[in-house]
């Protein structure tokens, strides 16, 4: 098998497990919607403010929900010594990284689709330039999934995985939060030309962390 086939095997395995366990649908998705609702309740007196800050609230919600998805991705490897099984599998560690990141990305895309509807309904937002908005979303999702998978395996070596992932990850992904929020603001305001520089930042971040993860995941998996 080549790298893509091996990554597909790992991603398929993770997505099948999520489809069976329904953790994303039954826990991560409701969590994201509840966070959006809480923001809506807190800022409801001023719908104008809510509309203005909607992109930031959306991406903060996505990042918080991503923490759960990433922790879950490594929790399934912790049970029954599956991580040692993965190490023994003969799969290329780069493929394991790409597969696990791809599975997290797919889950996040599904989450973002639902949360987007939530933002439109709860925050009274109308989406302007769809193209830049979609591109920014895809790049930000890849960046979060790649970074999360990299720091997830790093935290897996610690007994305090659930608490360590947010501490490690949130500061690192702050450029994604900033870039995606600015790109969304520009797209919603109907000024797509303002979105492109931020989309560039998101693209660099996604490529950088995907590359680092591909190289570093193997040694980190051995230490985990």
């Amino acid at each position: 098998m080549n790298l893509v086939q091996e990554a597909s095997l790992v991603a398929g395995k993770d997505l099948r497990i999520e489809a069976r366990s329904r953790v994303t649908i039954q826990q991560v998705l409701p969590f994201g919607l509840i966070v959006l609702l809480l923001f809506a309740f807190a800022l409801d007196p001023d719908r104008g403010v809510l509309r203005d800050v909607a992109p930031g609230l959306f991406w903060v919600t996505v990042l918080l929900a991503a923490l759960l998805a990433i922790s879950r991705s490594f929790a399934i490897e912790a049970a029954n010594g599956a991580r040692d099984g993965l190490r023994m599998s003969g799969l290329d560690p780069a493929a394991i990284f790409l597969g696990k990141a791809a599975a997290v990305a797919v889950e996040l895309v599904a989450l973002e689709a639902v949360l987007t509807v939530g933002v439109i309904v709860l925050f009274d937002v109308s989406l302007g330039a769809i193209g830049p908005l979609l591109l920014a979303t895809v790049l930000a999702t890849v960046g979060v999934a790649a970074t999360g998978t990299l720091y997830g395996v790093l935290a897996a070596s610690s007994g305090a995985r659930e608490t360590l992932v947010p501490v490690l990850l949130l500061p690192v992904v702050s450029p994604v939060l900033l870039g995606a929020t600015r790109a969304w603001e520009a797209a919603i305001d109907g000024a797509p030309s303002d979105a492109w520089p931020w989309i560039g930042v998101l693209a660099v971040f996604a490529v950088l962390y995907t590359s680092i993860g591909t190289l570093a995941f193997g040694p980190l998996l051995e230490e985990a």
Binding site: M1, E6, L9, K13, R16, I17, R20, S21, I76, A79, N80, G81, A82, D84, G85, R87, M88, S89, G90, L91, G218, E222
Partner: protein, 217 residues
């Protein structure tokens, strides 16, 4: 003929504790070697070192031609390890766990199905790992190892938790090993049962190995 496993003064530390304190061991292709010794003698550590799951700290270790001091990952594709845990995913069925393991090493789905049959779990093929009994899980772990079509099989207390049928399945695998050019290292406390299946016995004491008399001529 190059041995499948060749250790010279191999040292493996767990923290600062020398779990293996200078082990010499040669295992030829097709051999079934019993590792015996008391609790804490270093049997599991030795198997995990050979599997490449633990680092070599001193000495020499060569497994399937790979120098573990330089690279302890390349040979893993040809090594299967059945340890205290099953290495399986709770939410995947028995068949799915087997097929994932088989495909990961480049073996076919047929190899996975054959392994399922060999360990007698055909009726549980669609049952998730989480719903299998402890004994069935042990059988599945053995099946996962066989589905990978390994050249070297490492078994750590494989009889634990198995019923009579499960033990018979395991014995059949060990008896067939030489004919299949499969080399087996088996760490066990069930000495009477395992000695009759092993070609020789290596006794581990405080992290050091001594060869016992041949168990099977």
């Amino acid at each position: 003929m190059q041995p499948v496993v060749r250790l010279r003064s191999a040292v493996c530390l767990l923290g600062r504790f020398p779990a293996l304190a200078g082990v010499d061991l040669d295992v030829a292709s097709g051999e079934v070697v019993l590792l015996s010794g008391g609790n804490g003698a270093g049997k599991t550590t030795l198997l995990r070192l050979i599997a490449g799951l633990l680092p070599l700290h001193q000495g020499e270790a060569e497994v399937l031609g790979c120098d573990l001091a330089r690279n302890r990952t390349t040979h893993r594709r040809h090594v299967a390890f059945v340890g205290h845990e099953t290495f399986c995913y709770d939410d995947l069925t028995a068949r799915e766990n087997l097929r994932f393991a088989a495909r990961a090493t480049g073996a076919s789905a047929d190899a996975a199905d054959a392994a399922l049959e060999r360990v007698g779990l055909e009726r549980c093929a669609a049952v998730s790992h989480a719903r299998l009994s402890a004994g069935q899980r042990r059988r599945l772990a053995l099946g996962v190892a066989l589905a990978r079509e390994p050249r070297l099989l490492l078994l750590d207390e494989p009889h634990a938790g198995l019923d009579a049928d499960g033990r018979a399945v395991l014995d059949a695998v060990l008896e067939a090993a030489a004919g299949e050019d499969l080399t087996v290292l088996i760490a066990s406390h069930e000495l009477d049962r395992t000695r009759s299946l092993a070609s020789r016995e290596v006794v581990l004491t405080a992290g050091q190995a001594k060869t016992a008399e041949a168990a099977r001529p």
